[in-house]
């Protein structure tokens, strides 16, 4: 009897001690939180589904296979109104990726350039850059877009009276027209050869550096590189003998046919996105460089390194550690900000989704799709940038 009671109380203490155990509690709270979130999500979903059913509103993703019935003119892949909504969304998605990627690349180069100039000892130069940065990052992007679009549309003449800048190069408020090369299989082969030789050159360069580190011997590498790049290219040229035919834009009754074109809407969006993002990148780069201790500059100079070399080999690698994380969020912002395209008529994912939602009335599905897409794009960017950050981050030593 007494033994029995003892075990019982021992069991009780073990249960209650389990409850007071910090780790067990932490897990318990997390489980409760997850269950809570799941319940709320289920409730919202259930409620929406019931509401939609009660109101006789169609739901589900079946509509994606239906014929879209609208035209998208600015596109990277073939699309006709007879294609499905899913393909229309793909066209929009590719447009979004295209403009965001270009804006990210451009803002990185321009931003680094301006960020370095901001630190120039020349007061005129650094003040000019300061003015640029402050103006660009303090005006809302939407106003930028309206501004640039209005400028393009009202300053340049209509397509029929397009200005000719050079033979085959025209500018009008419908866009910018240039001659393009008639691409063929031969050109593709040439391009592949070029890329392959550049990869080889990259590795020989790495080998030369390794050798110099190991033996101190400096290899004259540039003649080797020249040979690696030019010889295969020349060989490929004679092998494939590509024809260089240019496709010139020609003015029809209403618009140019042939040639390449950048539409006014795309140009305005790219300019607006790039200019604001550039200002942010410039500030990130400036702060990154300034975060490197003054002693590093002095130490590098006292080793006899020249100005450019100090920047390239000592300061920038250290500054990068500070630059990369905010740069990542800047890239994410560029991608997300590209949704403002809708204001100036560039068919990005949101615009196509909006049209789709309107024609089908399926707003919840439409918004779910583009939320998932933007989340996916952002996560991809984050993963790539974190990988790069891991490479440049301070290694534990």
């Amino acid at each position: 009897m007494s033994i029995n009671r003892q075990t019982k109380s021992a069991q009780a203490t073990s249960w209650s001690s389990l409850f007071y155990d910090e780790r067990v509690r932490a897990i318990l709270y997390q489980v409760l939180a997850v269950v809570g979130v799941a319940l709320v999500a289920y409730f919202l979903w259930f409620n929406a589904a019931t509401n939609l059913r009660q109101q006789n509103i169609a739901s589900g993703f079946d509509y994606l296979g239906l014929e879209a019935g609208f035209e998208i003119s600015d596109r990277l892949i073939e699309f006709s109104p007879a294609d499905s909504y899913a393909r229309a969304l793909l066209v929009g998605l590719l447009n979004t990726i295209y403009v965001s990627l270009l804006a990210c690349v451009l803002c990185t180069f321009l931003g680094t350039f301006i960020g370095v100039l901001r630190l120039s000892p020349n007061p005129l130069l650094s003040k000019l850059m300061l003015i640029y940065v402050e103006i660009m990052r303090n005006i809302p992007l939407l106003l930028h877009l309206f501004f640039w679009y209005t400028i393009i549309v009202f300053i340049f003449p209509p397509v029929r009276e397009a200005l000719q800048l050079a033979p085959g190069v025209y500018i009008s408020n419908g866009g910018f027209y240039v001659p393009v090369l008639e691409w063929s299989f031969d050109h593709t082969m040439l391009l592949i050869t070029l890329i392959a030789s550049m990869v080889v050159a990259y590795f020989t360069n790495k080998w030369a550096i390794q050798k110099r580190i190991k033996t101190g011997e400096k290899v004259r590498i540039w003649p080797v590189h020249l040979a690696i790049i030019t010889l295969p290219l020349a060989l490929a040229y004679f092998l494939f003998t590509p024809e260089f035919n240019w496709n010139f834009p020609e003015l029809g009754r209403f618009r140019f046919s042939g040639g390449g074109r950048i539409t006014a809407e795309f140009a305005a969006l790219l300019i607006g996105l790039t200019l604001t993002a550039t200002a942010n990148v410039a500030e990130i780069v400036r702060s990154g460089i300034q975060s490197v201790n003054k002693g590093q500059w002095e130490a590098a100079r006292s080793l006899g390194l020249k100005g450019n070399r100090v920047m390239k080999s000592v300061i920038l690698p250290q500054a990068l550690r500070v630059i990369i994380p905010p740069l990542t969020s800047n890239y994410l912002n560029v991608t997300k900000n590209s949704t403002l395209a809708i204001a100036i008529g560039y068919p990005d994912l949101v615009m196509v989704s909006n049209t789709t939602m309107n024609q089908t009335g399926q707003a919840i599905e439409g918004i779910a799709i583009f939320m998932a897409v933007y989340l996916g794009l952002s996560l991809l960017t984050s993963v790539a940038m974190n990988w790069y950050n891991g490479r440049v981050a301070l290694k534990g030593r």
Binding site: L44, N47, A48, T50, N51, L52, Q54, Q55, N56, I57, A58, G69, F70, E71, I72, S73, S80, P81, A82, L142, F146, Y149, T150, V153, F154, P157, P158, V159, N173, G174, G252, R253, F254, R255, S257, A264, E265, T339, L340, I342, A343, I344, G345, P347, V350, M351, N354, T355, M357, N358, Q359, T360, G361, A363, I364, I367
Partner: protein
């Protein structure tokens, strides 16, 4: 901005409160609130346009005033809420507005997949195309290769694609979310062609710097019957809307005007007596006072008066009645009998 709005609307549809808002009883809710929630176009001359006193004027606005007069015996108990083409249906579905009176085309799929009900057609329209005069184009079939400015999510966007596809004409579409951007792109020459309902083109032309520099081409490429819309789940509210519109048409058929409606109270005609509520109890059947129709005509006049006030020959739009004449004059307007 609009993105945010559509997210908000989706959120509203997801939220609990929407269940309550959707339950039948729009009439009770409206009476309690003290005004009708009316979704209109933010700026469309002749249909819903703020005048210099900031009062919303136009055919679409007067439809809501008619309902307000029927419910409150006062045509001005209306809150006008600007909606864009893209979010108008969600605004109605989520209860942000109770009547959508916004040059909305009655179509099969809108009626059946969006959870909506259309009232009677208040304006028989058709899609047209407008070009600058100096383009020298005389027919829509000459437009191969032209850039066309379109508003998204409208029936016009699909009609245009259909029309050009059927006739093997290629075109460049430039789609704008915002009506002002859409017009500016056309006026600046970014687009060669502006397409919309003919009435909308007339109202756009009316606000151009030089209206005579633009011409609406003769082709009508679609049927666009425009009517007010309400939610699917409230028959009483639909009846009130429907018969308020019929009241406007009936009054014109019977020569009852804003000016003579008081005299008409003494009319010997039994149908007019029932209509104005001097005999019978028609209003009760709608859950309204028996003088509901009298109040409508008293505050906005009959259909013909509304048309002439906002769209007719004496207005900047200068539209003729065309299909919007009474059936007795060869038009399409027809009211079922009030008995």
């Amino acid at each position: 901005m609009t993105l945010k709005k559509s997210v908000l609307l989706a959120a509203a549809m997801l939220s609990v409160s929407s269940v309550a808002a959707h339950a039948a009883g729009t009439l009770e809710a409206t009476k309690e609130r003290g005004h009708v929630l009316c979704g209109v176009s933010p700026s469309s001359a002749g249909f819903a346009y703020a005048d210099d006193q900031g009062k919303v004027q136009g055919l679409d606005a007067d439809i809501c005033r008619a309902v307000s007069a029927a419910v409150f015996a006062d045509g001005d108990k209306v809150e006008f809420i600007p909606t864009n083409t893209n979010t108008r249906f969600q605004a109605l579905q989520s209860g942000e507005i109770d009547i959508l009176s916004r040059q909305t085309t009655h179509t099969f799929s809108r009626d059946n997949s969006l959870g909506l009900n259309f009232g009677p057609i208040v304006f028989y329209d058709g899609q047209g195309v407008m070009v600058p005069k100096d383009l020298g184009v005389e027919s829509a079939y000459d437009l191969d290769g032209a850039a066309v400015c379109i508003l998204p999510g409208t029936t016009t966007q699909q009609n245009l694609s259909d029309f050009f596809r059927t006739n093997n004409i290629s075109f460049e579409s430039v789609v704008f979310e915002n009506t002002d951007e859409w017009r500016n792109a056309f006026f600046s020459g970014r687009c060669d062609v502006l397409t919309s309902d003919r009435s909308d083109l007339a109202s756009t032309k009316a606000v151009a710097n030089d209206p005579s520099a633009y011409v609406v081409l003769p082709e009508t490429i679609s049927k666009e019957p425009l009517g007010p819309v309400v939610r699917h789940d409230d028959d009483q509210w639909l009846d009130i809307l429907t018969w308020s519109v019929y009241a406007l048409i009936f009054a014109e058929e019977n020569g009852i005007t804003q000016a003579n409606v008081d005299e008409m109270l003494n009319s010997e005609n039994p149908e007019i007596q029932r209509f104005l509520g001097t005999t019978g109890e028609l209003g009760k059947q709608l859950g309204l006072n028996d003088d509901w129709a009298y109040q409508i005509i008293k505050s906005v006049g009959n259909y013909g008066e509304i048309f002439n006030r906002h769209l007719g020959p004496d207005t900047p739009l200068g539209l003729s009645r065309a299909q919007n004449k009474l059936h007795t004059d060869g038009g399409l307007l027809y009211s079922p009998p009030f008995r």
